[in-house]
């Protein structure tokens, strides 16, 4: 630990000691109740402080992983799309392209438990029980080759697990390693030999189109001139193919029954859409995310959005002619995993038939 941090911690301890209960208070607020503290104070420290009682094994974790995590992180933690890679990367930290995973980089297992338990799954956080979390963490250890498939993780053996990169971190040492080098009189003239350009940003073409609007009047062909448009700046990843003119997503086979949509129902559906939008986009400019784009979903073939990687059962259902009529959507949304075993959609479903009707009405309103 660097001197400055030691100093800081020492000072900190003193200050902490100097702030006893006798410090002046205003008597504001009220006592937090034990049940309230238990609900919110769930963070876990490296020494295991904060771990709930529980356990979970690798195989249980694998099932939970496939259900809750694989759609973003891959079946084996290899990552999907641009979502984080969880497993592998061993020995890559000095490479030009290091792969920073739980196994190769994370110093503490407590961090994995804490994060999975409090912040995952993305878009459906804080649903995992302690046992679920122990099981998923056990599976993450397994997928990183750190335990065997018969391993069970619990609050009892948790702190026995030492992460491979536990010694790989040290506190900020810039005060010693950099600040002295960068603290000096400024040079004003003849500060070095003449320079020339070595890199140019425009060689990479990674700046969003439309951002440098002043250049827009004579833009290269094929790019919309959106000079001055507030929504400029959209798009154009260097890694992504050039934005093709929006490919019509599979013409609707059965025309959605859009006439006579109840505006109140559509509005209610729009409110419920909050539950869907972390994975799905709909409407103009919608793109595939964790889930496929849903513009025009009502009335179209299942598994028909180009460029989206559907689960095998969903692809099969599409090939067999499943069409997302309001009735089929209603059954699916009531309990997705019961309707279609093996779907990647990690959503508990909408119990309330009225909610389902509203969401479907909203999707219908977004069909054009």
């Amino acid at each position: 630990m660097s001197k400055s941090v030691l100093k800081l911690l020492a000072a900190t301890a003193l200050v902490g000691a100097g702030l006893p209960a006798s410090a002046q208070t205003l008597g504001l607020g009220r006592a937090a109740l034990p049940a309230e503290i238990a609900a919110w104070d769930v963070s876990v420290q490296p020494n295991g402080h904060g771990l709930p009682v529980g356990s979970g094994d690798v195989l249980t974790g694998e099932d939970l992983w496939v259900e809750n995590c694989a759609m973003c992180h891959g079946d084996f933690g290899e990552g999907a799309g641009a979502y984080p890679v969880i497993a592998g990367g061993d020995g890559t930290l000095t490479n030009r392209r290091p792969v920073k995973t739980v196994g190769s980089y994370w110093p503490y297992l407590s961090t994995v438990f804490d994060y999975v338990h409090r912040s995952m799954p993305f878009g459906n956080a804080q649903i995992l029980t302690p046992d679920d979390t122990y099981a998923i963490v056990a599976y993450i250890l397994y997928s990183n080759g750190l335990v065997e498939d018969d391993f069970t993780l619990s609050n009892e053996n948790f702190t026995d697990v030492v992460m491979p990169n536990a010694e790989g971190f040290y506190p900020d040492d810039r005060d010693e390693s950099e600040v002295p080098l960068f603290t000096h009189e400024v040079c004003m003239t003849g500060c070095g030999p003449a320079v020339h350009i070595t890199h140019r940003a425009t060689d990479l073409q990674s700046t969003p189109e439309g951002a440098v609007t002043v250049f827009a009047p004579d833009r290269p062909t094929g790019v919309a001139d959106n000079a001055g448009a507030p929504e400029g700046g959209e798009g154009a990843a260097p890694a992504a193919p050039a934005p093709a003119p929006a490919e019509p997503v599979e013409q609707a086979v059965a025309e959605p029954e859009s006439p006579g949509l109840d505006p109140a129902l559509v509005a209610a559906g729009e409110g419920l859409w909050r539950q869907c939008r972390s994975c799905h986009q709909v409407g103009d400019g919608a793109r595939n995310g964790t889930g496929p784009l849903l513009t025009g979903v009502v009335g179209r073939h299942a598994a028909s959005v180009e460029g989206f990687r559907y689960s095998a059962p969903m692809q099969e259902a599409g090939a067999n002619g499943l069409i997302w009529t309001p009735e089929e959507l209603d059954s699916f949304l009531a309990d997705p995993r019961a309707y279609m075993r093996g779907t990647r959609m990690s959503f508990r479903g909408l119990r309330d038939a009225g909610d389902r009707q509203a969401i479907i009405a909203y999707l219908q309103s977004q069909s054009q």
Binding site: V5, L8, A11, A13, V15, G16, P20, L26, L28, G29, I37, W40, D41, S43, Q45, N47, H49, P98, P107, T111, D114, S119, F122, A125, Q126, G168, F169, P171, D173, R174, S177, F182, T183, H184, V186, C191, G192, P193, A194, V195, H196, I197, T198, H199, R200, A201, T202, D203, T207, P208, A211, V212, T213, V214, F215, A227, A229, P230, G232, A237
Partner: protein
């Protein structure tokens, strides 16, 4: 004016650069728009009575809460979609190239969310203090209004600001290279007062601060800082925090990386160790060339950037009087001086400080020159009150290698061409 060789200014091979220069649409060295000098004909904008001088405009209350006039419609936050997997856990950038002064309007101050911007009302808001305290407490919004509060202007910079530039010049615009920053005036309660209210136990040496959103983003802060200048803030620039900035309550951690400025603050846990949360281990740590990583790199080092001219703000008026301006800041204190180079860092001149920011706040600098129309390699270099002089990117790379993501405070270079177009470049000798 510079030592840029002919080679640097050659017609490039790739279409991208050709397109860049062509589409710049700027006559070499010539004035393009708004040229008033030497007019041959009377300007009809002056000689003819315009509509706005005849008819009336909008009455009051046309926009009970006003937005910028439509002509400023391109002065907006922008994202870079390839940076992140999903716009819900993503970042966008402040249009610093188009702003002046030092205060960032909230409506265009950059956003960074880990699970999207949530709607949390004042009525539903609760703040809990837990852990190593004598009295674990719950506060409502109304409770918090009864504590003494302070007002301070501070910058908030994401640790990843300029992070895409480690491997070389990449994004073409100050908005994208340096726009993960904003500077606002906050009203809030010193965190110290809330901790006193709960009574920190002697073994409480850290606080863990956590948000109410689905990411429950949490960071550990040493007690010394928590008792020093951290604020529990409600307003920015005089009005309630915007949703995207943590309404109704966010933490303000002066001089330290933006990730620690927890939004929708719901819990302050007093602990005896750092929690070592995901955001302070797997992220916001700095991988060094030996494969080990620095952690707890909280301080934002001194940094500056010229905001105009810049790629999104080319020179449209040709040779003659030119205002060079930019921003400078330091997480180690106040800005002491800013120097500007026109030749890629060989020779420097001291800029004029237009707005002197306080500690951990932006300062605005200006350098007025008589541009001869020759190419330039513009740089700015800040020195803060501790004497720290902003390093070059290469100086940083010598120490940190190329695998860092965060804390790139290296000197930025803009190449200005004869036609007034500006490009993000790097230079070497």
């Amino acid at each position: 004016m510079t030592d840029m060789s002919d080679d640097d200014m050659r017609e490039p091979v790739g279409t991208s650069r050709r397109a860049f220069l062509r589409t710049a649409g700027l006559a070499a060295g010539g004035a393009v728009i708004g040229a008033a000098a030497g007019a041959q004909e009377a300007d009809p904008l002056i000689t003819e009575v315009q509509d706005w001088a005849t008819m009336t405009g909008e009455g009051v209350d046309a926009t009970p809460y006003g937005m910028p006039i439509r002509f400023e419609g391109d002065v907006v936050r922008r994202t870079v979609s390839w940076l992140t997997a999903d716009p819900i856990s993503s970042i966008n950038f402040t249009p610093i190239h188009a702003l002046d002064g030092t205060i960032t309007p909230a409506g265009c101050a950059f956003e960074r969310h880990h699970s999207g911007a949530i709607e949390l009302s004042k009525d539903d808001y609760r703040l809990m203090i837990t852990g190593l305290v004598d009295r674990p407490l719950v506060f409502t919004w109304e409770d918090l209004q009864r504590f003494p509060r302070e007002n301070h202007v501070y910058f908030c910079e994401c640790a990843a600001n300029s992070g895409m530039e480690w491997g070389g010049a990449q994004l073409n615009g100050a908005q994208f290279t340096h726009g993960m920053i904003h500077n606002m005036e906050y009203s809030g309660i010193p965190l110290r007062l809330l901790l006193q209210e709960a009574g920190v136990k002697p073994e409480g040496t850290w606080v863990y601060v956590e948000g109410a959103d689905a990411s429950s983003n949490g960071r550990s802060i040493p007690m010394e800082k928590a008792l020093d200048d951290v604020l529990v803030a409600f307003t920015a620039n005089g009005e309630a925090l915007r949703k995207e900035h943590g309404y109704p309550v966010r933490l303000v951690v002066p001089g330290w990386e933006g990730n620690m400025w927890v939004k929708w603050l719901r819990r302050i846990g007093v602990t005896d160790t750092a929690v070592e949360s995901r955001e302070e281990t797997s992220k916001y740590t700095d991988l060094m060339p030996d494969g080990r990583a620095r952690k707890w790199t909280w301080t934002m080092d001194p940094k500056s950037v010229i905001t105009a001219p810049s790629p999104q703000k080319p020179i449209l008026h040709g040779a003659g009087p030119l205002v060079i301006t930019g921003l400078a800041w330091s997480g180690r204190g106040a800005v002491a001086r800013v120097d500007v180079s026109l030749d890629g860092g060989v020779n420097w001149q001291e800029a004029r400080i237009g707005t002197q920011g306080g500690r951990y706040a932006l300062s605005r600098f200006y350098l007025e020159i008589d541009w001869d129309g020759a190419p330039m390699l513009l740089q700015s270099r800040v020195t803060d009150e501790t004497g720290y002089v902003q390093p070059t990117k290469d100086q940083l790379r010598e120490i940190r290698g190329l695998n860092s993501v965060y804390h790139n405070n290296g000197i930025q270079t803009w190449a200005v061409y004869e036609n007034g177009a500006v490009e993000n470049v790097e230079v070497g000798s």
